[in-house]
């Protein structure tokens, strides 16, 4: 009871939670993706307000923030997955290597081949492990012949750290794997089409700590070749895997910076409150 009262008292203390623009440096040199003044509306709801952020090459950028803060929405803007929602409207500018991805003439199919996505819940196709990985290369015509396709499948599974576990049952259904294996299968499926950027939407939220550790190690390895943006609810995870961290609050990008700085020396009061566990 006493602790509870303290908490309430602390909350009632005046805090400078006013938003006066994103704290920290949103731009970096030689970025892979740049977003400027992005606003997202779901019907009448203003989900993301004026977010500008650069995403660097071969870095892991983590997006953190309390539920409903817009971090997943922002992530889904980066490969136009929001297009599938009828009432969703995106304004502002998002560029992938100087190409405006919301350009009217831009085709989303090649965009999504360049910017792959891993989802919160492992979602393998109800097909064999092999076909799960081979599907992307097949539809994009990445392999000349069967041998090359076999190579892509094996390579992707190797990079996802799943090869040794599934090499003897490539033709069994992917849905028969454990949750952690399924998620690594989904990552392998994404890297099989050799994207430039991988978006991960809370990839470990449905997994146990051991599977989570494996995926985190995998993310660290993938950084050599890919740019990764990861949404996470776990601040420890953000601290472990990412180089830069962006903190979202109620649709606004409050603060962005080197992960180390964000967690040890947050500049904004909201960031500090969230990181120290005072809310969220």
């Amino acid at each position: 009871m006493l602790a509870m009262n303290n908490l309430i008292e602390e909350r009632q203390q005046p805090v400078s939670t006013e938003f006066t623009g994103t704290v920290g440096d949103i731009s970096i040199s030689n970025p892979r993706m740049t977003t400027r003044n992005v606003d997202v509306h779901y019907g009448d709801k203003h989900a993301i307000m004026d977010v500008s952020l650069d995403i660097g090459r071969h870095e892991v950028l983590s997006l953190i923030g309390p539920s409903g803060c817009g971090k997943s929405t922002f992530l889904r803007c980066l490969n136009r997955m929001n297009d599938t929602i009828d009432i969703c409207r995106v304004t502002g500018q998002i560029k992938l290597d100087d190409q405006d991805i919301y350009d009217k003439n831009l085709d989303v199919v090649p965009l999504r081949a360049q910017v792959g996505m891993v989802f919160q819940k492992p979602n393998p196709f109800p097909k064999s492990i092999y076909d799960n990985i081979a599907y992307g290369p097949r539809i994009h015509g990445l392999a000349e012949d069967q041998t090359e396709l076999d190579g892509i499948v094996e390579g992707s599974l190797h990079r996802a750290g799943l090869w040794d576990e599934v090499k003897d049952r490539l033709h069994q259904p992917g849905t028969g794997l454990s949750g952690g294996q399924q998620q690594r299968l989904c990552i392998a499926r994404t890297i099989a089409v050799s994207p430039e950027v991988i978006l991960m939407d809370e990839p470990c939220s449905a997994l146990d700590p051991i599977a989570t550790a494996k995926i985190e190690a995998l993310i660290d390895e993938l950084r050599q070749n890919f740019t990764i943006v990861i949404v996470t609810h776990s601040m420890q995870q953000a601290a472990r895997v990412s180089q830069r961290t962006a903190y979202f609050h109620l649709g606004r990008l409050i603060e962005v910076g080197q992960t180390e700085d964000i967690f040890t020396n947050p500049q904004h009061k909201l960031t500090e409150d969230y990181i120290t566990g005072r809310f969220g």
Binding site: N79, T84, V109, R112, F119, N123, P126, I139, R189, T190
Partner: protein
């Protein structure tokens, strides 16, 4: 604190008995509902099977037939035309005369000859045409008895009624008893029932024509309704924007599902027969009408099947750059297909049992020939049942029930496939 916990538990305990009693009452009501439903199903089956099972056997009479060229009145000619117009009735008459030589009056003879089905000469003709060397030989042949004899042998007519209110007089019953005593009366499996078309004579009538007509009708309906229904469902569910127009289309499709089927029959009459000039009584027109009728069922079931595919599968496919078409055809459709097929089979089962709209387009005609194609006049199983149920002959009663048994067997078979598909669908998830 401990005091208040106690009261909570006491409060809970006080309500427990009432809650469980409620549950027990509900379970008993459920079991009672199932029992009543089952009772009616069992009654239906018992009544139909007990009435209809005897139609699968037909009384035959053993006759010694002398295929004499003299009786046939053909001399030495053996060409097809002569053989097919020869007097085969004379053969059965001669054989019956030989068994009952004491019958010498004209009237008595006529009664005697009527014991054998009037279809018997055609059977003999078929035998001779298939093998002309039979001419001149003696053969023992089992020929179908007339339907009145059939009913007597199956004990479905009452011998104890006064003679004047019976269809068979004492003399004929006496002859039948004599034949039975000699082992010349036997109930044989009724193949005619499955192969023949309709007939005015019950012993010659069969559901062969009706089954063929039903198959052609269903084939036309399936070939049209499945692709159109599935394509409509995919477009409405996956591609169409949600606006006033698509809302209106959806409402109208749901309304169509509730339109009485006779209305579709009238529409078919006006549209396909009067306007388009298609032949009457044809399975093609029947199939078109049943297509209209089953389309809403298939569209609604297919849309539900598409909706039930988890969105994560779509996201997964789009996330690696599959186009909308690829997402739908590679991932969504295979998962939705069993549900779509289930809906289609249920729609087809509905169509198989449909009578009213087919009456409107003339499929209620008396058709003896087995249709050779979807443009030939024909009838369908439920309409055949309707026609037979209307017939006065006692022997059509058991044939009506037998035809219902065949129809139910087809329906159960189709529903079984639907259930199996659904089972497979659930396993895939």
């Amino acid at each position: 604190m401990s005091n208040s916990t106690q009261t909570t538990i006491e409060k809970v305990n006080a309500t427990l008995e009432r809650r469980y009693a409620k549950e027990r009452r509900f379970r008993k009501m459920g079991i009672a509902a199932i029992a009543i439903g089952l009772l009616f199903v069992v009654l239906l089956f018992v009544s139909i099977i007990s009435k209809g099972h005897s139609a699968f056997w037909q009384t035959h009479i053993k006759l010694d037939i002398e295929f004499s060229a003299e009786l046939l009145d053909i001399g030495d000619r053996r060409d097809i035309e002569t053989l097919s117009t020869a007097n085969y009735a004379a053969l059965t008459k001669a054989s019956l005369k030989a068994i009952f030589p004491e019958v010498d009056q004209r009237k008595g003879r006529r009664m005697l000859y009527k014991m054998i089905s009037i279809g018997a000469p055609y059977l003999l003709r078929e035998m001779v045409i298939n093998d002309p060397t039979l001419i001149g030989s003696h053969q023992t042949v089992w020929l179908p008895a007339d339907d009145d004899i059939d009913m007597l042998v199956k004990e479905q007519t009452d011998r104890n009624l006064p003679e004047s209110s019976r269809r068979l007089n004492d003399k004929v019953i006496g002859w039948v008893d004599q034949l039975m005593a000699r082992g010349a009366v036997e109930k044989l499996f009724n193949t005619t029932f499955f192969t023949a078309g309709d007939s005015r004579e019950p012993e010659l009538a069969g559901i062969g024509g009706a089954i063929t007509g039903s198959l052609y009708t269903l084939l036309v309906a399936l070939l049209l309704a499945f692709p159109i229904g599935v394509a409509t469902a995919i477009y409405l569910e996956e591609f169409a924007p949600t606006n006033r127009w698509t809302d209106m289309i959806e409402v109208n499709i749901n309304n169509l599902a509730a339109v009485p089927s006779i209305v579709f029959g009238l529409l078919g009459l006006a549209l396909f027969i009067n306007l388009a000039g298609l032949p009457r009584s044809a399975p093609l027109v029947g199939g078109l009408v049943l297509t209209l009728m089953t389309l809403p069922t298939i569209i609604i079931a297919s849309r539900a099947a598409l909706k039930s595919v988890p969105p994560s599968i779509r996201e997964a496919a789009m996330g690696i750059g599959a186009s909308k078409m690829q997402t739908i055809f590679h991932h969504v459709l295979p998962l939705a297909m069993p549900g779509m097929l289930t809906g289609t089979i249920i729609g087809m089962a509905q169509a198989l049992g449909e009578t009213a709209p087919l009456l409107m387009i003339g499929m209620v005609a008396f058709v003896v020939d087995i249709p050779g194609g979807p443009l030939d006049p024909s009838t369908v199983l439920p309409v055949q049942i309707f026609l037979w149920a209307d017939s006065p002959e006692r022997a059509f009663l058991e044939r009506t029930s037998a035809a219902i048994m065949v129809l139910l067997a087809f329906l159960i078979f189709m529903n079984l496939i639907a259930v199996l598909l659904r089972k497979r669908f659930e396993q895939q998830r």
